[in-house]
């Protein structure tokens, strides 16, 4: 018996060590060498049709495959891409783009005004039921081809954030030939004019992009980029440490310190336009009283959340939206002052022991539940009895959108994907906004938001938004919490990987040494 046991153990050891032998100490992901960049995300892209994309990882892929009229640079400034130059008419209702003439789609067809019109007409047609219909249909009336390389957009009204909407990943220009050939399946076999083409997509396993050698901006340095879905946070970190992945996004907060100590990799922390706040249900007493809402803001220790729970991967929000969003003005955070909170609550006639229901999703936003638990403690310290409820994301979304939702406070986050004040406020604070969970309604704020959307003079818009931000602070429909930072992990030999503040990971300029 003993002999049998030792034979078994010996053979097990042999099998395991033999398997190890082939890869030596280099891990398993380096076969492609400098030619291949492996990127691990928490999930995989859903579709590669820019106008039907609503998730960040699909958009990261679309940024490799597609070019837009205009784009953002490293500093989030709008720069030309397929359009060389552009102009807006006096009345702000017509935008004209002159296209570059050397750009070609990956199928060899030219990028011209027809292609731009074809792409936008498709999303503007409600019958096509594309997910980003209203992003463009809201302000574009019609698209006209002026000449082979000049296209004009007639707007429904002067729309302040028009240009930034064209810089949005959702504005990627399709090859009309491919759209006609593939029809509904275009999201699985896209053709754009970007620096990478889709080579292979094995659902659930990987998505492979290969360099478009004929790219008008010059052939990309890395020949192959592979996207891999790795759900488990710690598994992603380990893949980066062992070299199985060259880039990982996101890096879980609890791993940041450990990864920073490893000289074979770097942790990149970049600003983000995503904020974290708690919606206060302003439709219910006593939260219809601004004094009570201000008291809640004084009661919460935001600094500790940013420095301890978030380990510095966030900063305290100093306005309703973060400083990376165009139109931001600092109006200052509510200081942590429990005494002042108690005093305001007493003035508002709130009895100690009043029950307050706090909802949070779990695992959707970095450290969401942990932050909510900390706030529960803060609110109990000023005399509330907090009933805490955590939700799975899908259930949370449905529950919170219900008209009879029974929360008083709910943890929410908003990442304005256009990086513009309009999208940072209108859907979440305007009366009846699709994501206005605080059910906040203030005609004065509605008017400011409306004016800001329809003004085309940047200075005028900035003034309107700074007024709006001051009003929002005073009215406190939320407990203002954090401005997140985006954290990505990159091997030291990889350069040129960066993120826009709207959480888009840009890989087209990456270099691997």
């Amino acid at each position: 018996m003993k002999r049998w046991l030792s034979t078994m153990l010996l053979s097990l050891t042999l099998v395991v060590s033999a398997c190890g032998g082939t890869s030596g100490t280099s891990g398993a992901g380096t076969e492609g060498g400098a030619q291949e960049l492996v990127v691990a995300f928490s999930t995989e892209p859903v579709t590669l049709d820019p106008q039907d994309t609503s998730d960040g990882i699909s958009n990261n892929a679309n940024e490799l495959l597609f070019d837009k009229l205009v784009t953002l640079d490293k500093n989030n400034e709008i720069v030309p891409q397929l359009a060389k130059e552009w102009s807006t008419s006096e009345d702000g209702k017509k935008m004209t783009f002159k296209l570059r003439e050397d750009a070609k789609f990956q199928d060899g067809t030219p990028v011209n005004a027809e292609a731009v019109k074809y792409t936008f007409d498709r999303v503007l047609n409600k019958e096509n039921k594309l997910a980003r219909y209203s992003l463009y249909a809201e302000f574009i009336d019609k698209v006209t081809v002026d000449s082979e390389y000049q296209v004009s957009f007639q707007l429904k009204f002067p729309f302040g954030p028009a240009l930034i909407s064209f810089a949005h990943t959702n504005g990627g220009i399709h090859s009309p030939k491919n759209l006609q050939e593939k029809g509904k399946d275009v999201g699985k076999s896209p053709v754009g004019s970007g620096p990478y083409k889709l080579k292979e997509w094995i659902p659930g396993t990987k998505m492979v992009f290969e360099a478009n050698e004929a790219y008008w901006g010059g052939a990309p340095k890395i020949k192959t980029i592979v996207f891999k879905p790795v759900t488990e946070n710690s598994a992603r970190s380990i893949m980066l440490e062992t070299g199985e992945a060259d880039v990982i996004v996101p890096v879980v907060t609890s791993d940041v310190e450990r990864l920073k100590g490893n000289d074979k990799l770097k942790v990149q922390t970049e600003p983000s336009s995503r904020n974290l706040y708690i919606s206060i249900n302003t439709s219910k007493a006593p939260f219809d009283n601004a004094k009570v809402r201000q008291a809640l803001n004084y009661a919460v220790d935001k600094e500790t959340i940013a420095s301890k729970i978030m380990a510095g991967q966030a900063k305290v929000l100093d306005a309703a939206f973060g400083e990376k969003i165009w139109g931001h003005t600092s109006v200052g955070a509510y200081p942590y002052d429990p005494e002042k909170a108690k005093q305001l609550l007493a003035e508002a006639g709130i009895q100690p022991g009043t029950t307050i229901r706090l909802w949070t999703p779990e695992g959707r936003y970095l450290m969401d539940r942990q932050i909510a638990e900390f706030i529960q403690g803060n609110l109990q310290a000023v005399g509330f009895n907090v009933v805490f409820q955590k939700w799975e994301w899908g259930a949370f979304q449905e529950a919170i959108k219900s008209p009879n939702a029974e929360f008083d406070l709910a943890v929410n986050s908003w990442g304005a994907s256009t990086n513009d004040a309009d999208w940072a406020l209108r859907p979440i604070l305007k009366t009846g906004g699709a994501s206005n969970y605080a059910k906040y309604s203030n005609p004065k704020l509605d008017e400011l938001i409306d004016k800001g959307m329809k003004a085309s003079d940047p200075d005028e818009r900035k003034k309107l938004y700074s007024e709006a931000l001051a009003l929002i602070k005073e009215e406190a429909p939320w407990i203002f919490l954090l401005e997140y930072k985006q954290t990505s992990g990159v091997r030291s030999n990889v350069e040129g990987v960066y993120s826009w503040s709207n959480e888009r990971l840009i890989l087209r300029d990456a270099v691997k040494k």
Binding site: M1, V16, G20, S23, K184, G204, E232, E392, E398
Partner: protein, 306 residues
């Protein structure tokens, strides 16, 4: 025998109809709206409505179920709401991974579990027995995901022998199969120990020993064969357990199998994908049970199916 198999296969039909109704009702009563999940958090009500319309989610529930069953009758499991691919294709492309993982785990489970059971039972209450049973108690108590992470830490992170995840090639199956198989082997070890102990004290074993049969043959030929029935039962049941365990293991090890697909589909409220894959797994489980029942007659000639 053949008519028995046929009867059992026919009995599968009501079971699977039951499973399909139960899954349909359960997932539709879970809160969450696939249209909203697909349209994204930023989508306006108008965009969500467009997506809902496109996915056919505006139909009443009984109509949706009717359409689903009609499709099933034609062998069509529907189209995934999330990826817009046929659910059957999604399952077929992922099943080999899950099957491979389950089979390698079975090998680990039977190899380690049965061996430990025999080692314990042949010298009951000895140090060897206590040590083996302590090990198996440890195995039962360890959550699979924890064991998985520890294995990754040791073999991928420190030793760098094996990949920490993925499903390319046999090497990537070793760690997940160990994580999955070891915890099941513990159960098997305890069960086979008691099963063997029960048989080992019976008269025919004593007779065999009295006749001077070598101890090795007493154990393998006489005892083990007679103790096999409960062992086969638990192996069959554990197959289902392993399929279930694959859900966690595949997530921890980023493997592209049915388990992770189910988790992902539930998160996205991808109704056709959830229904299809659960039905698929249920069918596999029923078939494995049938195979286990048939195995009884192979091991024990007293069992006959008419």
């Amino acid at each position: 025998m053949l008519s028995y198999i046929l009867k059992r296969l026919l009995q599968m039909i009501p079971t699977l109809i039951g499973v399909s109704i139960a899954t349909f009702v359960l997932i539709h009563s879970v809160p969450g709206d696939p249209a909203r999940m697909i349209a994204g958090n930023e989508a306006s009500e108008e965009e969500v409505a467009l997506v809902r319309d496109r996915l056919g989610l505006n139909e009443p529930l009984h109509v949706q179920y009717g359409q689903y069953v009609m499709g099933l009758a034609k062998g069509d499991l529907g189209t995934s709401l999330r990826s817009d691919r046929p659910v059957l294709d999604e399952i077929v492309s992922r099943f080999p991974t899950t099957l491979m993982l389950t089979c390698v785990s079975m090998i680990v489970m039977v190899g380690v579990g049965l061996l430990a059971g025999i080692l314990s039972a042949t010298k009951p209450n000895s140090k060897r027995d206590n040590a083996t049973m302590m090990f198996s108690l440890f195995g039962i108590s360890m959550p699979i995901f924890w064991l998985g992470l520890m294995l990754i830490l040791l073999f991928s992170y420190y030793l760098q022998w094996l990949p920490s995840g993925g499903s390319d090639g046999f090497r990537s199956f070793i760690l997940p199969a160990l994580a999955l198989g070891l915890s099941s082997s513990a159960i098997l070890a305890r069960l086979s120990r008691s099963s063997i102990l029960e048989v080992i004290h019976q008269d025919f074993v004593r007779t065999a020993r009295a006749k001077g049969v070598k101890e090795k043959w007493v154990i393998y030929k006489h005892t083990l064969k007679n103790a096999l029935i409960p062992i086969i039962t638990i192996v069959g049941l554990e197959f289902g357990h392993l399929l279930g365990g694959a859900v966690l293991t595949e997530t921890v090890f980023s493997m592209n199998g049915i388990g992770r697909f189910i988790i992902q589909s539930i998160q996205f409220r991808d109704y056709p994908a959830i229904q299809g894959s659960i039905l698929f797994v249920a069918a596999i489980f029923v078939i494995v049970n049938l195979i286990v029942d048939l195995c009884y007659s192979l091991v024990d000639p007293r069992v006959r199916y008419e």
